[in-house]
Symmetry: C2
Subunit: 261 residues, 2 copies
């Protein structure tokens, strides 16, 4: 089972869109996919028609319990998505209180990793969506994954925020053993070749992070918004769109890289 | 002095862009404007060329001090922007730790309001940018302002998050006296009339919030990104752009509404 997290401390860069689109493409080629929504705002959960304000069981349960997390406890959280090869562990808005609750309690950073270990044989890929804030939920996302996807808007201010994200990754890696270092891929999003800001920031990203930047660039594509109306993964909604094609190229390069490791 | 905050728990909806563009338009007609960056990610601070990781003095100081906040203490925080009628109280990344520090300490929700009272005669308008998370910094933004601007992307998922924001506003209003109730304006952003998601969610916004929605709709305009490269307010960078025109219409209706109150 491969675990990929999608994170960036900047808001609105395409994290949830990356999770949903990559999940749809993996499911189309036959993989069984689990999605985990670690954002208390619950965009991924809402995307599939569930209400983060009303859900009784969610990721929150993984933090609320003092007992050991067991397989039944995790399976109780699973929800269907609109695709039969994709399941979801949803978010609830109650998770916004976890930051405060986590203070003083040791080891809250591994709850998600422990839960995923319980369903290791049921899924081929796990994709974790995270909130745009560095806190206990993002730390769980970084601790649970083997590879990190970092969507970055192709605009000037985004580069500044990325430096901070890269520093956070090196911090996490200092605590990991040599064989388990967290690798990451930078995904340029909202690319628009007509805008000088987009063109020059993409060049700057290649200069600064030549080994981590993905060759697949995600263009601005308003069709992404239509997919969320009906809760369909973008590749099912419109498999010919430019956005979906660019994510398919991204996925091919990620799978290629994985083979070589 | 009028204090307007810009807030939405959803990331990437155009909060910082709204602050910078409205500030530029107010400054152009002669008003003296103070900007306050309450987002630990510091997009507004970076926009004007300052580094939120390196700054010694920032909004953080308003929370760190046990003493009463006085005028000199606030004036020490003021920085220049690229416009001579706009000043800035910057953010620093250290503010990300304030959530944890604020636990158990009473009355941390009014630090910004107290600081602004110290410079009441120096500015005509104060615009407060906030992070995409409901926490002590957003509570300060809501407590310090008389009117709230809520940018909302014209897409399906955004409507769900808006309900939550409106509930937060009613919660805040329960603690305010009748004459000081917080009013708010919903600003539809990233509007694209070619996308079904955009058109139908704008109609839904008008149905659900007929009294709070602004008639001015902000279109998708990639020129906003170019402005941030040079740290110029959008109306100085390109006063003829569609985006700037739509914000000018918004500002006219906000000033109109204010006259009537
Ligand atoms: N390449 C793209 N082109 C155009 N629109 C896009 C693209 N990617 C995402 N979007 C749209 O932009 C908005 C923000 O994307 P998304 O919600 O995925 O970002 P996010 O990083 O998850 O935000 P948050 O920080 O709030 O979690 C959504 O309306 C989405 O449909
Ligand atoms: N109307 C618009 N059309 C096109 N691009 C826009 C528009 N408004 C903002 N943008 C761009 O979208 C990105 C996100 O905007 P912005 O940073 O203002 O959002 P935000 O709500 O402040 O995000 P955060 O939640 O991270 O604070 C920026 O790159 C900005 O230049
Ligand atoms: Mg998201
Ligand atoms: Mg912002």
């Amino acid at each position: 089972m491969h675990v990929w997290s999608v994170a960036n401390q900047k808001g609105g860069v395409g994290k949830t869109t990356t999770v949903v689109t990559v999940a749809g493409l993996l499911a189309e080629v036959g993989y069984r996919v689990l999605l985990v929504d670690l954002d208390p705002h619950g965009s991924l959960t809402s995307y599939f028609g569930y209400d983060p304000d009303e859900l009784e069981h969610s990721v929150y349960d993984l933090f609320a319990t003092k007992h050991k997390i067991n397989r039944e406890g995790v399976e109780r959280l699973l929800l269907n998505s609109s695709h039969d090869r994709i399941d979801l562990i949803p978010a609830s808005t109650a998770m916004a209180t976890l930051e405060r609750k986590a203070i003083g309690e040791e080891g809250m950073g591994l709850q998600v990793a422990k839960a995923l270990a319980q369903v290791r044989d049921s899924y081929d890929y796990v994709l974790i969506d995270s909130p745009p804030v560095l806190g206990v939920l993002m730390v769980n996302a970084l601790a649970a994954c083997q590879h990190l996807l970092v969507p970055v808007q192709t605009e000037f201010l985004a580069l500044k925020g990325l430096e901070r994200m890269v520093r956070t990754i090196s911090m996490i890696n200092r605590a990991r053993s040599k064989s388990k270092k967290l690798s990451f891929t930078i995904i340029p999003t909202f690319y628009d070749r007509r805008t000088q800001a987009s063109v020059s920031s993409l060049r700057e990203l290649h200069n600064k992070y030549p080994n981590e930047i993905s060759n697949a660039v995600i263009p601005v594509d308003t069709k992404f918004r239509n997919a969320s109306i009906r809760g369909l993964v973008p590749s099912v909604m419109d498999s010919s769109s430019r956005g979906v094609h660019s994510y398919a190229r991204l996925l091919r390069s990620l799978l290629e890289r994985q083979k070589q490791e």
